[in-house]
């Protein structure tokens, strides 16, 4: 199985370029150490030409956010008939859009915090501002306002009062034309990584513990890297852990994912899990949760990267 020619695609122009560079370099080194022939490609306008020249047996997509995680590069690889890692075009599109994801979860009976979502046209052309008060009452305060395109935590705002909503909307709308307003569910943050396609394997649950919380404003800190500790496996009652795992798999399947992925949860004070989102290309950096989960399952980083690579398909 060694010796395969792999292109690792990383970088690109998304806001998560830096994370992608670090995931990409690490993946490249891991593959080389297992005997693969690796060419790293920092994605730019020459991508397609280079792929045509190199004709790799597998493209390892180590990109995050726009372009790499939203089905764009997946579509190109389909056209070029190059097998690639991770989810296909449709699943990527579904998971990249937090709103679409939540509609699918809701339809599938998977618990996700109550929400509403808008395109900026609703405000510009239909006077949606007059619904904000109703939304606040509907969802209950505080409300989290997020750009619909999932990925970067940038642009996520927190409205403690209804009158904070418009400014939060503008910030979120700076990042995407569509925004999600979601009830803020206080609780523990769990990340569940999944590996495989036909019979996906759930890796040990990771809990992210912000170093200081307690007040609403600490909400911001959970999106600030370096201010979080991880516990693997998370300390959970067996029936709670089983339910979280079941829902993680249900989410993975509902979105039609393959290869690998990570489902993010909030576990509320009553120990009820709520699915927030699914990442089709979770980070694989030194500080990312998926490698931690793999390690807890007895898989080295190299094992993890090889497993993902060998699951590549068209």
């Amino acid at each position: 199985m060694t010796g395969k020619r792999i292109c690792v695609l990383y970088g690109g122009r998304s806001l998560e370029r830096d994370v992608s560079l670090s995931t990409g370099h690490r993946v490249g080194r891991a593959l080389e150490s297992r005997g693969y022939q690796v060419t790293g490609i920092d994605v730019d306008e020459s991508l397609v030409r280079r792929l045509i020249e190199l004709r790799p047996e597998v493209a390892f997509i180590a990109m995050h956010g726009k372009g790499g995680e939203d089905g764009t590069v997946q579509e190109l690889l389909e056209i070029l008939r190059i097998p690639y890692t991770g989810s296909g075009v449709l699943s990527s599109i579904r998971a990249m859009d937090k709103v679409l994801t939540k509609h699918i979860l809701k339809a599938g009976g998977i618990p996700t915090p109550p929400f509403h979502a808008f395109n900026d046209a609703a405000f510009r052309e239909m006077g949606a501002k007059d619904t904000l008060q109703i939304i606040a009452e509907d969802l209950g305060l505080p409300v989290v306002v997020k750009p619909a395109a999932q990925g970067s935590a940038l642009g996520i705002k927190f409205a403690a009062e209804a009158r904070d909503l418009p400014a939060a909307m503008v910030s979120a709308l700076s990042f995407d034309r569509k925004v999600l307003l979601e009830r803020f569910v206080a609780g523990r943050e769990l990340a569940v990584s999944i590996l495989g396609t036909a019979e996906p394997r759930v890796l040990p649950i990771v809990e992210a513990i912000p170093q200081a919380r307690h007040s609403y404003y600490d909400f911001e800190s959970r999106y600030t890297p370096g201010e979080t500790d991880f516990e693997v496996p998370a300390e959970l009652a067996p029936e709670v852990a089983a339910e979280v795992e079941r829902l993680a798999l249900a989410t993975y399947r509902a979105l039609g994912c393959r290869g690998f992925g990570r489902v993010d949860f909030i576990l509320d004070q009553a120990n009820r899990p709520w699915v927030l989102e699914l990442n089709t290309i979770p980070g694989l950096t030194e500080t990312s949760t998926m490698p931690l989960a793999a390690q807890a399952a007895g898989l080295s980083f190299e094992d993890l990267v090889v497993a993902i690579t060998e699951s590549a398909t068209l």
Partner: protein, 319 residues
Amino acid sequence: MDPAHVLITTGGQQAIDLVTKTFVDPGDVVLAEGPSYAGALTTFSTYETDVLHLPMDERGLDVEAVPDILDRLAADRKRVKFLYIVPNFSNPGGTTLSLERRHRLVEISAERELLIVEDNPYGILRYQGEPLPTLFTLDQSENVIYLGSFSKILSPGIRTGWIAAPAPILAKIAFGKQATDLCSSPLNQMFVHEFISSGVWREYVQRLIGIYRSRRDVLLSALADEFPPGSRWTVPEGGFFVWASLSPPVNTTDLLVKAIEENVAFVAGNGFYMDGQGTDSMRLNFSGSPEDRIQEGIRRLGSVIRDQMELYRALGMDG
């Protein structure tokens, strides 16, 4: 000037660092312009100072506000260590301290024994008006420390600047300099020496002035054409920057995200304050881009601002 009163530093930034390290203990107050050079603010916060921003207008720092502020701080038992100021074509404000205010500030500094740190990396790059005397030359009471740099007239990579100060002050700073890096690269200093002593710098700086003046003029006229009514901006007589403020509730941090999508960048205003001000403002640089790009950049920025304002109106936030 007596060379004994000059200390060569590794750029102006090290000069700021050395002065701060020498004079400030954690919790001391440093007075700064509002807005103030972000690199200096970073240094001040590294040494755990309390930065207090002073008000400014088109003639620079409002020096008449200084005595009252000093009284208030004294009443609160706060120790003010120095006032940091960029009197010529301030970064980021673009403003220049008027002659009367210079005289007055030096007077206040003598009366109140207030140490002034005068940072002047842009002074030679003047595009209109007469040069004004530095605070350092006006000072008779040994209360001004002057910081210079070759970064803006030769090259930032040459990392050569200097501190001019009264001998007792300089001796203390030199002590800190030794602890930091013994001395700045003599090789770089030889380059600078050659550049200056050969006289080529005069012609070079004249050329820069011509280029930058045209770029400034293009930026100012583009702003007048493209920015929406209610926007304000400074008209710098030199230097690199224009400071533009938009009518509320526009937030320039949000705006920057949209601007970058259009391949236009600026520095959001709140980076030049330690106290959360500046969210309605931005620093625009005109020295680094050719005229047609400045024109096009401001055109795009203008349309991003209008679009953002429309969104605020749609959200009922137009005040």
